[in-house]
């Protein structure tokens, strides 16, 4: 399970893990913007933009190979567009699509791998992301595991009785949907029973210290340098 692994990473103890979630989120957004808007890509560009990420992975003591591999999950999605660009004769754009999406995914993984989901969501909340959206993400994360377990059980039960065809799997999805609906009802009741009134508050208000602000400033300076000097010069 992807998110169980990420959850384990996020509970590590490093300089990066200790930083305030808001600071990391802001930095990620700045980095993504720099990646997305850089005009041209090349091997040198990849090296320049990839270096700070690699450094972050090492500082956070995340498994380098696993991060690189997991970041590749976005490739099938961007590959379709990349192929279309190649067909259209624009191989530079194809490379940009693939490399940019890959680096972006790796950057998001670094954030997810150094920030427990609870803190990440509180950080988003304090950055004024709508509470409803945050609740949805939180529930999705929590029940993905329960749902996939349920799907596994159904598949096993079907195999025990002789098969698991595409048709049965389709029926299984329908049953899974119905069960999820029931479960959602149950969860809602459990929330109401404990006095839920529309917003899940956080028990630990995040406070950013001087180290966090320093980290943010240094990070933003680095991203600006990447975008306006290094990356730009080297990819010419």
């Amino acid at each position: 399970m992807h998110h169980v692994e990420l959850d384990r990473w996020s509970r590590g103890r490093s300089l990066l893990h200790a930083r305030d979630a808001r600071v990391k989120i802001l930095l990620l957004v700045a980095y993504l913007a720099a990646v997305a808007t850089s005009p041209r890509v090349s091997v040198a560009w990849l090296a320049v933009y990839g270096f700070p990420l690699l450094a972050a992975v090492l500082v956070a003591d995340l498994p380098v190979g696993a991060v690189l591999l997991r970041a590749a999950v976005v490739l099938p999605f961007s590959a379709a567009f990349a192929v279309a660009s190649v067909v259209a004769g624009d191989s530079q754009r194809a490379a940009a699509l693939a490399l940019k999406s890959y680096l972006s995914a790796a950057a998001v993984l670094v954030l997810m791998g150094t920030t427990p989901l609870g803190r990440l969501l509180r950080g988003l909340e304090r950055l004024r992301v709508p509470g409803f959206l945050i609740l949805v993400v939180q529930f999705l994360h929590r029940y993905l595991f329960v749902l996939s377990e349920q799907a596994q059980h159904m598949r096993l039960a079907a195999l025990c009785r002789g098969g698991w065809s595409f048709r049965q799997a389709a029926g299984g999805v329908a049953v899974l949907f119905a069960r999820s609906y029931d479960r959602a009802e149950g969860i809602h009741q459990a929330m109401l029973a404990r006095g839920f009134a529309g917003r899940a508050a956080s028990p630990e208000p995040a406070r950013a210290g001087w180290k966090d602000w320093l980290f943010l400033l240094a990070g933003l300076a680095l991203v600006a340098a990447l975008r306006f000097f290094l990356g730009g010069v080297w990819s010419r």
């Binding site: 427990p116 929590r142 969860i187 929330m191 006095g195 208000p205």
Partner: protein
């Protein structure tokens, strides 16, 4: 003394037309523990959902002198702590600690107060070491105890437990029993687990087709309704053993 819970002539019909409660009368006093027995589908769970206003039927339900109705649900839910049958449905926050803080924060406690209440409740159920763990990494027994802590942290006067021993192994059941025995609250326990009920309650009620058909000592009810497996069957070992 005024009973903590008083239910008079409670009726409830689900939207699909099923009559789930057909005139329930019930009382529970402070400090008392009562077991709720009855066949599947006899209305036990529907009944307990009325006690903190998750369902509102026809009839009268009062909790600590308060009528259970739309405008005082907040107060009622503070008095009645409901522990659900499926702990996975109750544990929805990313960590154990945040989950147990959920109730107290909803009650309007400040974050430090809520954190203190959560820590205390987790100590009470013997899960004080698991604050930062994610609920899906817990065993069934641990989940159940954390779910109980989530309710205890709201300091209810009454605990309502719906099938608390489902999915628990014998050590898990024993651990839960120890925890519950140490809690001063009045308790209402929906269960098929005769051993568990006997260890906790003296009084029991028996549900059948949406009514309480008998109210009395646990052993008397078990005998009357042939509800105890080992006593109602002559067979204690498989044939031929």
């Amino acid at each position: 003394m005024e009973p903590l819970i008083k239910v008079r002539d409670l009726h409830f019909r689900y939207e699909d037309g099923t009559l789930a409660l057909d005139g329930v009368n019930f009382e529970l006093s402070a400090g008392e523990t009562v077991a709720l027995f009855g066949p599947n589908g006899s209305g036990k769970t529907t009944f307990v959902l009325h006690l903190n206003g998750l369902l509102l039927g026809q009839g009268e339900v009062t909790v600590g002198g308060l009528r259970v109705e739309k405008n005082n649900l907040g107060l009622v839910r503070r008095k009645v702590g409901l522990v659900f049958q499926d702990a996975d449905e109750q544990l929805f926050m990313p960590t154990v600690f945040e989950d147990v803080c959920f109730g107290p924060l909803n009650l309007g406690l400040s974050p430090p107060e809520a954190a203190a209440a959560a820590r205390h409740a987790l100590e009470q159920v013997g899960m004080g070491h698991a604050l930062e763990r994610a609920p899906y990494h817990l065993s069934a027994g641990e989940k159940r105890r954390v779910a109980l802590a989530g309710v205890l942290a709201m300091q209810p006067e009454i605990l309502v437990l719906d099938e608390p021993t489902t999915f628990l192994d014998p050590p898990g059941r024993r651990a839960l029993l120890e925890v519950l025995r140490g809690l001063p609250q009045a308790k209402l326990i929906v269960t098929h687990d005769v051993w568990f009920a006997r260890a906790l309650a003296r009084r029991a009620v028996f549900f059948e087709r949406g009514r309480i058909v008998r109210d009395g000592p646990v052993d008397e009810l078990l005998a009357r309704f042939h509800w105890n497996l080992s006593e109602s069957l002559d067979v204690v070992a498989p044939p031929g053993a």
